[in-house]
């Protein structure tokens, strides 16, 4: 058994160090193996920590032995462990998948660098989750974001550059808003530690300074997590990035900022008092509904399949914030479980498109005609993940929708159940376009013949797809953990 004491630090430090090493080595194959080892190690740590906190324990680690609240605290509770699992495992699987994809899409001399930045991004994302310090979270957020901009800019198409630039501008504004928010809270309470903040905010939650800080925090995090209408950076970024980057970012990046939003809204602030009083919960609620409908409708209009999925992500983020805004146990469980479930299905979809990109050189809808027969495994996976996106029972998509619907009912919103259901029908419209094109059209005579994606890419993707089905049927792990996490942050003694 590995020593549990230092694990919270190791989980982040290991990929950070490995990133530096990769930057020195720069040999593509060697870097890949190093990254594989490191990410596997992080995942093992996450599992061990997860088992330790599953029954309500909390792991606290004092960074550099400076005791919190003065020093930076790393803190693993059920919620953090859940998110760490999502980020760690998705990062590992996408990385394994990248063995072939990176070699195909990134110029040879940059491949080592790519793995280094990938590790850096993962370290940043894991750090955002594990840290118990609000300012430290900002630093990790910037580590993750700066590497994300780079990951996107490495796309083959020159539009990747402008997309990365746009993302950089908007992402930095979002992060700076977050720092402003943290600054306001610091001015009012004199602390940056989340647990400490939670205690010190008692009784002063309606103070104007605190509320202003909260406003900046929510706006910044909403921008970073691409909540409609602050989603403008997202479609281009996902569409033109290399396949591995799209898969990693779609699966984890926005999720982690949403995690921070949940952390602030429920754990540090008391949702009912602070957010409801300032009408933030209502704003969030309306924006979620707008995101669900607008994102889905915009997705229908896209001809680039990666862009289509990016818009679909905007809608799916709306589902998560919807669960946050409805604010009861079931809806929050739905939001949390959807964080994981959407990571699985959207990750799988982008990974599948990576295979198409590799073989076909394009993911434009009209170029996909009839490839269902030539890439049977890829396209079967696409159907499966699409079904999950629709919320077909037996897949993970259903589980999250069920919790969200029951949560909405608990809150007395009958009509919203219908909205939730109707939006999944819009998902049918855009996924159906692709599936029809792929299966029911004949491959044009002059189109090049394509072959199935490489085995390692398929294997990694189908691992995720298998998880999509498995966790749709056996929800003890995902929904169970999400419920435990939701319980732990909602039942705070105030």
């Amino acid at each position: 058994m590995i020593e549990l004491t230092h694990m919270p630090a190791l989980v982040v430090v290991a990929p950070l160090m490995a990133a530096a090493l990769c930057a020195l080595i720069r040999h593509s194959r060697l870097c890949w193996w190093l990254a594989t080892l490191t990410l596997t190690f992080s995942c093992v740590c996450i599992v061990v920590m997860g088992r330790a906190v599953f029954d309500g324990n909390v792991l606290s680690y004092a960074m550099g032995s400076w005791a919190p609240p003065i020093g930076i605290e790393y803190r693993v509770d059920a919620l953090a462990a859940f998110m760490l699992g999502v980020v760690g495992f998705m990062a590992l699987i996408v990385h394994l998948y990248g063995y072939r994809s990176v070699r195909a899409e990134i110029p040879q001399p940059l491949q080592g660098w790519y793995h280094a930045i990938y590790l850096l991004c993962t370290a940043g994302l894991l750090g955002m989750v594990i840290t118990g310090d609000t300012f430290n979270a900002f630093v990790f957020m910037e580590i993750a974001s700066l590497s994300a901009y780079t990951l996107i800019a490495m796309g083959k198409d020159r539009r990747a550059l402008t997309a990365a630039f746009q993302y950089l501008i908007l992402g930095t504004i979002g992060a700076t808003f977050y720092v402003i928010g943290v600054g306001f809270l610091y001015l009012q309470t004199g602390t940056l530690n989340m647990t400490d903040l939670d205690t010190r905010l008692d009784g002063i939650m309606d103070h104007p300074g605190v509320l202003t800080g909260l406003g900046f925090l929510i706006a910044g995090l909403a921008l970073k997590s691409a909540l409609f209408p602050l989603h403008l950076w997202l479609p281009n970024a996902y569409a033109w990035a290399p396949s591995v980057s799209s898969a990693l970012l779609a699966a984890t990046a926005t999720k982690v900022t949403l995690y921070l939003l949940i952390r602030f809204a429920y754990d540090i602030f008391d949702f009912d008092i602070a957010l409801a009083q300032a009408n933030w919960s209502f704003v969030l609620f309306v924006l979620s509904l707008a995101a669900i409908t607008a994102g889905s409708l915009l997705a229908i209009a896209q001809d680039n399949v990666k862009r289509m999925l990016a818009y679909s992500s905007v809608a799916q983020i709306g589902y998560i914030t919807f669960g946050i805004a409805v604010a009861n146990l079931n809806s929050l469980t739905g939001a949390l479980v959807h964080l994981a479930n959407h990571a699985l299905m959207k990750g799988a979809l982008f990974m599948l498109l990576g295979g198409v990109m590799l073989r076909l050189g394009s993911v434009h809808l009209s170029h996909l005609a009839g490839i269902g027969r030539q890439m049977p495994w890829t396209m079967a996976g696409f159907v499966l993940a699409g079904a999950s996106l629709l919320g077909v029972p037996g897949t993970v998509g259903f589980v999250s929708k069920w919790y969200l619907a029951v949560g909405a009912l608990d809150a007395g919103h009958w009509s919203l159940v219908i909205v939730l259901m109707a939006s999944s029908l819009i998902a049918l419209a855009y996924m159906g376009r692709v599936i029809e094109m792929v299966y029911l059209r004949e491959r044009p005579a002059d189109a090049p013949t394509v072959t199935e994606a490489p085995p390692i890419m398929l294997a990694a993707t189908w691992l995720v797809l298998a998880a999509c089905i498995y966790f749709g049927l056996d929800t003890d792990l995902t929904a169970g953990l999400a419920r435990a996490a939701a319980d732990s942050i909602m039942d705070q003694p105030q």
């Binding site: 077909v392 037996g394 069920w402 029951v406 049918l428 029911l440």
Partner: protein, 507 residues
């Protein structure tokens, strides 16, 4: 063998068959042997389940839990008489349809034959799941699986019309289920706290009439497969599919799953007592009655044979719904009998339509003059099927209608009586002339010469004047279902026994 193993077999066999069919796609003979073998195995399984259900003194055997998806949401299976009826219809007609499809697909040289055999198997597997579902969640799961599995079948031809039809099919069925059925299930979950089927009803008797009204609306229109107007649109749209698919959809798997779900939900979720006692459920009788008449009138005006049959299906399905909505024991018996009778009759009609298309390449009612002389077996089978639709003895359709009529009389429901009489006349009006023309009108002269040269269809019994009967597997299949339709009139014991288990009325 334990119950669990039997259920596993019932659902697993078709799935295994689908995989086997895909693997052996290079060898058509092996592929079809796999399909038929699995079908026979499935029939045996269903019979084994049936002897347990009907032999047992309790109303149903134990529940087999597979796994719990979420607290309160179980995947579980249990056998009960109604499901048994649906399962036996589906499994037996699957074998017959497979035999028929061999003739049809080869005779017409259809593309994507493996697609048919594989997805038909999956569709049957889903139907078994619907039949033996022990709760609403499992039912919904299998219901959606059936929709998705039949989509590739409808789109099988792959041309623009097929794509459009399949899109309509998928959207209507998914939209209704997601907007109606799923909210209704969530509603039951919230009201009753449980989703399992109980004889006498899951919903507690104290719920308000308004709630019953809303739930019944959500269920009735949410189960789009039952094609209650105006959610019947998918059914004519699906007619673009090759005929074996239409037969499978409109007699075996899809539409029967729809009415089966409605009957099952009225009996096991609402409970017949609650449903007949509530004042607010009468609307369903009227909605179904209007559908019966409207669909019959539309059918009268269709020249395309398969579309005429499709609207006839819409109308016949609403018979079942209307009978079930009366929720009296006699009417319920009629509903259950009619499910079986219509299955046999309608599949015969589709088989005949497909045979005509294969042998003569005719799809229009107006082209069928004199065809009875060339294809006597086909047209006799057609006539038997049509009698079943009209409700004439000696076909099974008569018995179903008889009980329905008795139920309506007992309930003194004038509306239902009027609907039954009017629709019988309408049914006769759209089938009788067709049969008369086929046998007694003279074939158009132009056709005789043209067909002599052109229509010597592959595998057809080429007679001197052009085409003859369709390939023999199609005739065999058609014969079996036609005879079955007659046999059910003389020996309706099984469906009656099943109905009796549920309603408690002795025949």
């Amino acid at each position: 063998m334990s119950d669990a193993m039997l259920f596993g077999l019932a659902i697993g066999l078709p799935i295994v068959a689908a995989i086997g069919v895909t693997l052996t796609r290079a060898y058509p003979n092996v592929r079809e042997a796999v399909s038929i073998g699995a079908g026979l195995g499935l029939c045996a399984t269903v019979i084994a389940i049936g002897t347990r259900v009907l032999g047992a003194t309790a109303e149903a055997g134990g529940v087999t839990h597979v796994l719990q998806v979420l607290p309160g949401l179980d995947i579980a299976f249990a056998a009960e008489p109604l499901g048994l009826l649906f399962a036996s219809i589906a499994s037996m007609l699957w074998v017959v349809t497979t035999v028929y499809a061999i003739g049809y697909l080869r005779g017409n040289d259809e593309p994507r034959q493996t697609t048919f055999f594989a997805f038909a198997a999956i569709a049957i597997g889903s139907s078994m799941g619907i039949a033996f579902a022990a709760n609403l969640f499992t039912l919904f799961l299998c219901y959606e699986a059936l929709t998705l599995a039949t989509y590739p079948l409808v789109a099988m031809k792959g041309d623009t019309a097929a794509r459009r039809g399949a899109r309509t099919y998928l959207i209507w069925l998914l939209a209704t289920s997601v907007l109606g059925l799923l909210p209704a299930i969530v509603g039951v979950h919230v009201i009753a706290g449980a989703l399992d089927f109980r004889l006498g009803g899951t919903i507690p008797a104290r719920v308000s009439d308004d709630l019953v009204l809303w739930l019944s609306i959500l269920f009735a229109y949410g189960i789009g497969k039952a094609a209650l107007m105006p959610v019947h649109r998918w059914l004519p749209a699906a007619m673009v599919a090759p005929t074996p698919v239409s037969a499978l959809l409109h007699a075996v798997a899809v539409v029967k799953a729809g009415v089966f779900c409605i009957v099952k939900i009225i009996v096991y979720v609402f409970g017949m007592d609650l449903f007949s006692a509530a004042d607010t459920t009468d609307w369903l009788v009227y909605a179904a009655g209007i559908t019966v008449l409207a669909a019959s009138i539309i059918a009268l005006r269709q020249d395309n044979l398969k579309r005429r049959l499709a609207y006839s299906t819409v109308s016949q399905l609403s018979y079942v719904i209307m009978a079930a909505a009366l929720a009296t024991p006699l009417a319920m018996t009629g509903a259950i009998l009619h499910i079986a009778a219509h299955a046999l009759g309608k599949i015969t009609l589709f088989f005949a339509a497909g045979a005509i298309y294969t042998a003569a390449h005719k799809t229009r009612v107006s082209e069928l003059n004199g065809i009875g002389r060339r294809m006597p077996i086909t047209m006799i089978a057609f006539a038997i099927g049509a009698c079943g639709m009209i409700g004439l003895p000696p076909t099974a359709g008569f018995i179903g209608k008889w009980y329905l009529l008795a139920g309506a009389l007992a309930a003194e429901d004038v509306f239902v009586l009027v609907v039954i009489f009017a629709s019988t006349l309408l049914n006769a009006a759209y089938f009788a002339p067709l049969i008369y023309n086929a046998f007694f009108r003279r074939e158009p002269a132009a056709d005789v010469h043209a067909s002599a040269a052109a229509h010597a269809s592959p595998g057809g019994h080429a007679s001197p004047g052009g085409h003859g009967e369709a390939p023999w597997p199609m005739l065999v299949a058609m014969g079996i279902t036609a005879v079955g339709s007659l046999a059910l009139f003389f020996v309706p014991d099984l469906p009656l026994a099943i109905a009796n288990r549920i309603t408690g009325v002795l025949p």
